[in-house]
C-alpha cells in the first residue's frame, strides 16, 4: 500500500509540474462552457433586416412597428425599389428583406387578403429558417388581433407547449454535450498520454522490472485523473448554474454519481488506447480522432440521432458519450431519478467493465 501511495504521489508531481497541461486541463472547460454558452448559439437576436414598403399605409406601419419592437430584429434600412433587393443582399448587410405588396391595406379590406414577401439570405439555412418562423409568428399574432371581433366558422387552434426547455435556450443543449466532451477528453487523453510517456521515457521498463503489479501501475495512473475530472465536472456544473442560469432539475447526487461512472468509462478507454500506442503522439491522435469526433458527431450532442441514416444510428449505440448525454439531459432538464435512466446507466456500466477487462488483458507485463 505504501508503494501504491508513493506511485500516486509521483503522478501528482507530474501533473502539477506540467503547467501547460494543467492550464489546458482547467482552462478548457471554462473556455468551452463560456463559448458555447454565449458565442455559439442557435437563437437569433437583433438580426438586421431591410423593408420594402410601397404601400405606406396604417397596416404596414403597424406591422413594421411590431417587428421593430421585437428583440429578434432590428430594421437596418428601407428599400425603395424592388430592383434594389438583390444589391442589398449582395452587400451582406441584412439577413432578410420584407416586401409588402402595393396597396396592402386596401387589398386587405377589399379582398380580405394581402401578401407580404419574406426574402431571406439562405447561405446560413438555419438562421434563414428561424427568421421566417419568427416573422410568421409576429404576423399571425397581428392577424389574430385583427380578427378578434370576427367569428370564423371552422378553426383549428394548435396549442404548442415546449416542455423542459420552454424558452428553447441552446445552452440547455450544449451544457450536457460540453460536459461530456471535456470529461471524455481529460480522462481518456490525459491517462493515455501519461502512460505512453513512461513507455517513451523508458521508465516503463523499470516499473515493469519492479515489484509493482501491473494493476497497481494502472490504478495509480488513473486515480489522480479521477480527482481532476471530478473537479472539472463540478466546475462545469457550477458555471452552468451560476453563469448560464441553467437550472438543474434533478438530484445533484445522482448527477455526480453518473458523472463518476462516465469518468471511469473514459479512463478505461484511455488505458485501452495506451496499450495499443507506443508514443505520446499516437496516443493523442487516437484520443482526438477516435474519441473526439464520434463524441461530437454521433453522440447526439449537435446532430439529432433520430435524423441520421440507419447505419449511423446503429453505430451511435456503441458510443458511450451518447448514453451519458441522454442521462445528463434527463437529470438536468427533466429532473428524473434513476428509475428512468437505469437502462442507460447499465449500458455505460457494461461498457466500462468491458473496456477495463480488455485493457487488463492487453496490458503487457513484458515489452512484447
Amino acid at each position: 500500500m505504501k508503494r501504491f501511495i508513493g506511485f500516486i504521489k509521483k503522478e501528482f508531481y507530474h501533473i502539477f509540474r506540467d503547467r501547460r497541461s494543467l492550464f489546458i486541463l482547467f482552462g478548457m472547460p471554462i473556455a468551452q462552457i463560456l463559448l458555447f454558452g454565449f458565442a455559439i448559439t442557435n437563437e437569433i437576436n437583433n438580426v438586421d433586416i431591410a423593408i420594402l414598403n410601397t404601400s405606406k399605409d396604417t397596416t404596414t406601419e403597424e406591422i413594421i412597428n411590431r417587428i421593430a419592437a421585437s428583440k429578434y430584429f432590428s430594421i437596418k434600412q428601407m428599400v425603395t425599389r424592388e430592383a434594389d433587393i438583390a444589391s442589398v443582399f449582395e452587400k451582406g448587410n441584412v439577413k432578410a428583406v420584407l416586401n409588402f405588396e402595393r396597396n396592402f391595406s386596401k387589398n386587405l379590406i377589399k379582398e380580405n387578403k394581402a401578401t407580404i414577401q419574406i426574402i431571406t439570405d439562405a447561405t446560413d439555412p438555419n438562421t434563414a429558417n428561424t427568421i421566417t418562423n419568427y416573422v410568421n409568428a409576429i404576423l399571425q399574432h397581428y392577424q389574430k388581433e385583427l380578427n378578434k371581433d370576427v367569428h370564423v366558422a371552422y378553426q383549428i387552434i394548435p396549442q404548442t407547449r415546449m416542455v423542459y426547455n420552454p424558452e428553447l435556450k441552446s445552452v440547455y443543449m450544449f451544457v450536457p454535450g460540453v460536459m461530456t466532451i471535456i470529461l471524455m477528453l481529460v480522462s481518456a487523453m490525459m491517462t493515455s498520454i501519461s502512460i505512453t510517456r513512461e513507455k517513451e521515457l523508458g521508465t516503463m521498463e523499470i516499473l515493469l522490472v519492479s515489484p509493482l503489479k501491473p494493476f497497481q501501475v494502472i490504478i495509480g495512473k488513473v486515480i489522480p485523473y479521477i480527482f481532476l475530472s471530478i473537479i472539472n465536472a463540478i466546475v462545469i456544473v457550477m458555471l452552468s448554474i451560476f453563469i448560464l442560469n441553467m437550472p438543474i432539475q434533478g438530484s445533484l447526487l445522482l448527477l455526480g454519481l453518473e458523472s463518476v461512472l462516465f469518468i471511469i468509462t473514459s479512463l478505461a478507454l484511455g488505458i485501452l488506447i495506451s496499450t495499443i500506442s507506443a508514443t505520446q503522439q499516437t496516443a493523442m491522435m487516437i484520443s482526438l480522432m477516435g474519441l473526439m469526433l464520434p463524441v461530437i458527431l454521433l453522440s447526439g450532442f449537435i446532430f439529432p440521432i433520430s435524423s441520421m441514416p440507419m447505419p449511423l444510428q446503429i453505430l451511435s449505440n456503441i458510443i458511450p458519450a451518447k448514453w451519458f448525454i441522454i442521462i445528463l439531459k434527463a437529470i438536468m432538464l427533466k429532473g428524473v431519478g434513476l428509475e428512468f435512466i437505469w437502462k442507460e446507466t447499465l449500458i455505460l456500466l457494461g461498457m466500462t467493465v468491458f473496456f477495463i477487462a480488455l485493457s487488463v488483458k492487453k496490458y503487457k507485463i513484458r515489452l512484447e
Partner: protein, 300 residues
C-alpha cells in the same frame, strides 16, 4: 546466485537478434558484454530482466528462471536501461525516493550502499533530473537501480553519452559495488572498458565470439601486431590495404594497426614498400594487442 544462459535465441520480425547464446556469470563477478551497436546486447538484457521472452533456450538469474519465476527476479535485480530512465520533472531526491518506495524500502535503509555515489549528486538533490549533466544523470540512475539492494545488477550501456572522467569514476564505483557482494552484468560498446571487467563476452550480430578474461583474450591474439605511422594517414591506410601481404589494417588513434599474413614478416620490407608509395617519416614498431584488436580479428 549468478547468471546462467543456455542456448538463448531471439528473433524479431526479420532480424536475428540473438543466436544460440550461452554463458555463465559467477556470483559476485563483474562480467562485461562487449560489442558494437546492434549486436544484441539490449535484447539479451531484456530477456534476463524478464522483459522479453526468449524464442529458445533457458536462462536463470540468481537461481530463478527468467520465464517461470519472473516475479521473483523482478524483486531481486536492479536494472539500468540504456537511456537513463528517470523522471525528468522530478527532483533528484524525489526520483530516488520514488524508486525506494516502489521497491518497499527507504533511502535511509540502504543509504550505506549508495552513499559513495549519491554523495556526489546530493548537493543537487533539489534539482530536476532533466537539468542534470550526463554524468550526474548516470549516477542518479545507478543510485535508483541500487536503492533496493539488488543481488544482481544489470547495466545496459551505462557509460554511453558520458564524459571520460565520469566514465572512469563510474567503473571505480562498479568495482566497489562488486566488493559489496553484488553480481554485475554490464554492457558497453567501448572496448577500453572491457579491460576493467573480470571476464568479458565479445558479441557481434547476435553471436558470442569469445568469452574469457580480458588478459587472456589479449594474450590469445594470434599474430604479431605493428603500429605504423606516417605523415599522411589516409594515404598510409590505402597503401597498406593494397600491400599484397597485408592481413588487417585498422586506424588506431595516431597509428595504424597492421598485421601481416607471413610468419617471417620483416618490417623493413614494408617500410621499403611504403617509401615507394612516396610516404615519408615512416615508423613501424611492434605493439601489444588490445581488446579492440582481438575483437576486430575475431569478427572478420
Amino acid at each position: 546466485m549468478g547468471i546462467s544462459v543456455t542456448n538463448i535465441s531471439k528473433s524479431y520480425k526479420n532480424a536475428k537478434a540473438l543466436q544460440d547464446i550461452s554463458f555463465e556469470v559467477k556470483p559476485n563477478e563483474l562480467f562485461g558484454i562487449i560489442g558494437p551497436d546492434g549486436a544484441g546486447k539490449t535484447t539479451l538484457f531484456r530477456i534476463l530482466t524478464t522483459l522479453l521472452f526468449p524464442d529458445q533456450g533457458t536462462a536463470t538469474v540468481a537461481g530463478f528462471d527468467v520465464v517461470k519465476d519472473y516475479k521473483k527476479i523482478r524483486n531481486s535485480v536492479g536494472y539500468m536501461p540504456g537511456k537513463f530512465s528517470l523522471y525528468h520533472d522530478l527532483t533528484v531526491e524525489e526520483n530516488l525516493n520514488f524508486f525506494a518506495t516502489i521497491f518497499g524500502t527507504t533511502i535511509e535503509e540502504n543509504y550505506n550502499l549508495i552513499k559513495d555515489i549519491y554523495i556526489q549528486i546530493e548537493p543537487f538533490k533539489d534539482r530536476r533530473a532533466g537539468k542534470l549533466s550526463g554524468g550526474m544523470k548516470q549516477k542518479l540512475a545507478l543510485s535508483c537501480a541500487l536503492i533496493h539492494k539488488p543481488k544482481v545488477l544489470f547495466l545496459d550501456e551505462p557509460t554511453t553519452g558520458v564524459d571520460p572522467v565520469s566514465r572512469k569514476e563510474f567503473w571505480e564505483m562498479l568495482k566497489r559495488l562488486q566488493q559489496k557482494g553484488i553480481t554485475i552484468l554490464v554492457s558497453t560498446p567501448y572496448m577500453d572498458e572491457a579491460a576493467l571487467c573480470d571476464r568479458v563476452a565479445l558479441i557481434q550480430d547476435g553471436k558470442i565470439l569469445q568469452i574469457d578474461t580480458p588478459e587472456a583474450i589479449v594474450k590469445h591474439y594470434p599474430t604479431s601486431l605493428y603500429n605504423v605511422r606516417s605523415t599522411n594517414m589516409y594515404q598510409l591506410i590505402t597503401s597498406l590495404k593494397t600491400y599484397e601481404h597485408h592481413h588487417s589494417v585498422y586506424p588506431f588513434g595516431e597509428f595504424v594497426h597492421y598485421t601481416d599474413t607471413r610468419s617471417d614478416f620483416n618490417p623493413e620490407d614494408l617500410k621499403v614498400y611504403l617509401e615507394s608509395k612516396t610516404l615519408s617519416d615512416i615508423q613501424i614498431e611492434r605493439t601489444e594487442a588490445t581488446i579492440e584488436d582481438s575483437f576486430m580479428e575475431l569478427s572478420t
